[in-house]
Point group: D2
């Protein structure tokens, strides 16, 4: 199954930080979602992934793009507890909502949301469109310029969807408008 | 007069580098143009503007975006001759076409294209849409993420124009289309 | 009491990583010591202090300079346990010995060695000369060039001490030789 | 013949910038000299060599270390004239003295001082000790930490020379004190 061009699986979260209420895909429908999956002790996440997520938040309007962190611990579980994460978020001044991915089934090291999104590791940046479809997924480093272009493309699509009132309309029609099949997504 | 949302003035060029033939706006119609105005002895151009132009060229398809340099010398004219520029382009491995802006009228220090575009200094990055309209102009530093988003927006518009066949259609209609709608660009 | 130009206080360490045996000042006498005090969740330590300590280790001969880390946790104690530190050292590939500073007396938040060295925070880099005297202490950022110069100065002094056989000689004479007054330290 | 551990050849300079009077090795005797050889259109010189020379000037006392630039043009001669260099120094805010190396004999592309120092290219940083002996020569990039250590070593030697009054004394004795022969230099 392809990682992209399919409906984003539900997030399975044990605990949220930096948000008064739990988030979910449905409540963010209509916005582009930039989902930054990281581990607090992953050097590439600290030097590259998280600062880039912060730049996304600074560049695009909150009405257009929701930046959400996902703490996907698949190694050193005892070292990256929610207690440690909370101090990390404070010290690194991460201000967007961050959810703690639920531990894997039957003690599997990879947590559940990470598995459901077929992520290879951390950092992974997933872009979910306004209709809730995974459109891009980048493992490791991706340039700011390419990312800016992809987000702008999804914002433009969201505007088109919004104008055509399809977001509030019939789910089947909405799904057709998004045109996501195995070949890709078009509107 | 506004710098943006008006037809891009013609380029007044004495000499071209990195291209077999002179370029002009008409021959690039249908593509987004990223026009990088620089001076070879401007530190911000060397450290920021020109590398960013090179990243634009590497990120977007040549069919979608044309990257063009404009050597807009407004100081130290004797130090930044075409001979010096040629060596500079060679040493810095600048591979996109670069035109030498024509000296100002009656000995004015600011060259002609730079004046016609109301540029404040160097580096200046101007984005011209597929219909030949100046849409964005950045003096100094602009982030890769924002720039990527703006270019993607203009590419998407060019696609729409192309699909509606307006580019090949009646110039008046094209001009009306290009000059945007209620939400978009007006002069 | 001055932070520098006095004998380095003994290290009070609960646990060592990256070394088969506990380290102490006496066993390193004769070498310059670069003591990097850090917290694993301190951004400046991760981006600046620890990479600089690694560069010290790569630049100078191990016979001349011993690089030693000191985990001086004075906040978020529950988040920066030895278990978390071990994973951190692994992920960031820190290869020099690191000691865990002992918790403060009577529950004081600042750990004992950190207090004894009058450190203001993290990162702090302390340079201890071959005779065991604190000679420089830098809180926050210090340039590689200045640090390289200071370490070279202390190595040169150590060579002089070694040639004059004072290191193996009478402790009183050695102490006098190493001694520092208001004008500074001379040998 | 070795590049280092031999008396520094005289500088053959056509023109000086940033100094009221011509400089020469004799007038700088007693100081460590950091000689930064560069070409104004050499990218590595602009991004690395010249900023490092500026950091040397900022880190060490002017009484201890003299930073001197040498414009060693061995290619694109028509593009890097003294007129262009002057604008370059102004725009890049280079504030230390810079001499223009004299054109090669019989039209050889490599200028004379560059040849006499056996430099491989630009940037090249040469460290000359207080007695006028070439001690280190780095082509390309060298780390700030190593460079800081080497300069500190030479400053310390200069202090020792100064204390022993040898600098003002008999040239033969001074030369002996510097102990520079084909095997190397010691004091």
């Amino acid at each position: 199954m392809s990682k992209v061009n399919r409906p984003a699986p539900a997030w399975q979260i044990d605990q949220w930080f930096n948000t008064p209420a739990a988030l979910n895909l449905e409540s963010l429908r209509g916005k582009v979602i930039a989902l930054e999956s990281f581990q607090m002790l992953c050097p590439g996440c600290v030097s590259h992934g998280l600062p880039q997520a912060t730049r996304i938040r600074a560049t695009f309007a909150a009405d257009d793009v929701a930046v959400v962190g996902l703490h996907t611990v698949f190694e050193h579980h005892a070292a990256m507890t929610p207690t440690s994460l909370q101090a990390f978020l404070h010290e690194y001044r991460i201000q967007f909502p961050v959810g703690v991915d639920r531990a894997g089934i039957d003690g599997a090291p990879t947590p559940r949301t990470m598995s459901a999104y077929f992520m290879q590791g951390t950092p992974t940046l997933t872009l979910i469109d306004a209709a809730g479809v995974i459109r891009y997924q980048h493992f490791g480093q991706v340039s700011d310029m390419l990312l800016g272009a992809q987000i702008a493309e999804l914002i433009r699509e969201a505007d088109t969807l919004r104008k055509s009132s399809l977001l509030e309309g019939d789910p089947v029609q909405r799904s057709q408008a998004a045109h996501c099949d195995e070949q890709g997504c078009t509107i």
